[in-house]
Amino acid sequence: MSDSDTTARPLTAPDPSPPPGPGRPGTGSRPVPSDEQLLNAKLVPLRRPGQWLSALVLLVLLAMLVHTLLTNSRFQWGVVGDYFLDGSIVRGLELTLWLTGAVVATGYAIGIAVAAMRLSRNPVLTSLSFGFVWLIRSVPPLVQLLFWYELASLYPRLSVGVPFGRAFASVRTAHLFSGVPAAYVGLSLDVAAFASEIVRGGILSVNHGQTEAAQALGMGGPRIFRRIVLPQAMPAIVPASGNLLIGTLKATSIVSVIAVQDVLYSAQLIYNQNYLVIPLLLVATLWYVVLTTLLSAGQFAVERYYARGTGRADRGGGRDGFWRIVRGNVPLFGRGGSLAGLS
């Protein structure tokens, strides 16, 4: 208590436990509680009837959903189980996974470069970057995919050589841009355009003083970008990038139109033969749900990593932080306990 190690001089703070008797003079007609009463009073958390009511409504809707999923025999969960780990589905899944990985890696490599170009002081680079983003964002990914796939009808042969001059080597376009390469190039360019805007936004959110401080230390431009600016831009970049990554995972399903056997097209090939449309669409859906769940968990971990040093993560690291999150996410139960810390 404060007066335990205080000197004889009278404190401004009075004795925390005043003598019992009539409370402090009240301002109104009601008696004013004494300090003792206030310190010992039981705390009543705020009641939130709206939350309880909405929770109830949601629970009922959820129960209805689960009920229909289990009782409607047309979902044919048995068939879903049979095909969930089917060989061609798993091969399709592998293609979906590595195509997503390759597209995002390439897209971000290009996207970061495009963002850096856009922010440079070189007007040629700025215009080029702006034009690239404008063009790619204007074309729907499906249309772009079809263009790359049909490139052979526009340019039957592609060659390397002197512009307007002699060609050193050439190749038939139809061989180069079969389904998978067309999908890879088209989707990568699409991701690059969107990633560059995400990265640019993140970089703009970093205080310019950080760049000046690094310049004052004699660091070079590329190193400042990699070591100082980009890491600080990450908290702004990561949530949007998680969005883009998950979006890309699902966007790879459009390759089914150019007959690339991803997880969706594999499912379609099967149901075209046995007409079990819904169960096989459910197989593909469940795999997308599983992958998206894993990616979301990964995003959470990355966000925590980049939140270090911002104070938001400092107030509860480790297990304490985990339980704090768990407690904080059981929203219907307020904090109980008593104020009585003194008595």
Binding site: S2, D5, T7, A13, L38, V44
Partner: protein
């Protein structure tokens, strides 16, 4: 100092810890109407947390803060303290002004809009009337005619004076200052302290966290020295600052003077 019997602010048994580390460890304090209480002490001693508890920006683990007869964040009824909702806390806070170390002006609004927003949104004062009041308040803090400037166009001292005017626009019963001059160039400190002193002379009740010992000596009615989350010593500035009794107070004062 005006001598009204009932204190405006009563703090009892206040405790708050962050991650198991106690920052406030049982604080009792009274501030009477018209009184200026200056909180001194080393960093991490609990000054800012105490100030933030007063307007319930921090929620105490134990103990209570009462301002003008109301327990902050709670309502006492039938021997229980009932938590009040966000609107209830907002209503309680509307009577308490706060000035921050980093000013925290709204950078996307002009000076006038900074001053008009809360009175019109919270108190329902017509914007025209609030703008007129903003003009008066800006004149009072020595910034007449700067209504249309944006915060970034002002110096730090000017921004902090706008922040004080913004707090005054709500006609608070109590003003809290959290190191109001710590982010300012030395030459700009004086203009902000002059405004605060002027407010003190006009009878405003204030709790000020500061490292300006000279200002504390001149303006404070009560100096409270906090260390380790406890009040080590408190009293009139002539006593605490000139003849500190506690060893920790002496060590702190000799280090900062």
């Amino acid at each position: 100092m005006s001598a009204v019997a009932e204190p405006l602010v009563r703090i009892r048994g206040l405790r708050r810890s962050f991650g198991g580390r106690p920052v406030l460890d049982g604080v009792d304090l009274d501030v009477r109407r018209g009184e200026v209480a200056v909180l001194l002490g080393p960093s991490g001693g609990g000054k800012s947390t105490l100030l933030r508890c007063v307007n319930h920006l921090e929620r105490p683990d134990a103990g209570f803060v009462e301002v003008a007869g109301e327990i902050m964040g709670y309502r006492y009824r039938d021997a229980r303290l009932h938590e009040v909702g966000r609107r209830g806390v907002a209503r309680q806070r509307a009577r308490i002004g706060m000035v921050f170390q980093q000013f925290n002006l709204f950078p996307h609004l002009t000076v006038r809009e900074n001053l008009v927003e809360a009175p019109s949104a919270v108190r329902g004062i017509p914007r025209k009337q609030a703008a007129e009041r903003a003009r008066e308040l800006l004149a009072r803090v020595g910034l007449a005619g700067r209504e249309d400037a944006y915060p970034a166009q002002l110096s730090g001292g000017q921004q902090q004076r706008v922040a004080i005017a913004r707090a005054l626009a709500m006609d608070p019963e109590l003003l809290l200052f959290d190191e109001p001059t710590s982010a300012l160039d030395p030459e700009l400190v004086g203009e902000v302290l002059a405004v605060i002193k002027d407010l003190a002379d006009s009878g405003m009740t204030m709790i000020v966290v500061t490292h300006e010992i000279g200002f504390a000596r001149e303006v404070a009615d009560t100096v409270v020295f906090l260390d380790g989350g406890r009040i080590v010593e408190s009293g009139a500035p002539g006593e605490v600052l000139a003849r500190p009794i506690h060893e920790r107070t002496r060590a702190f004062l000799s280090a900062v003077l």
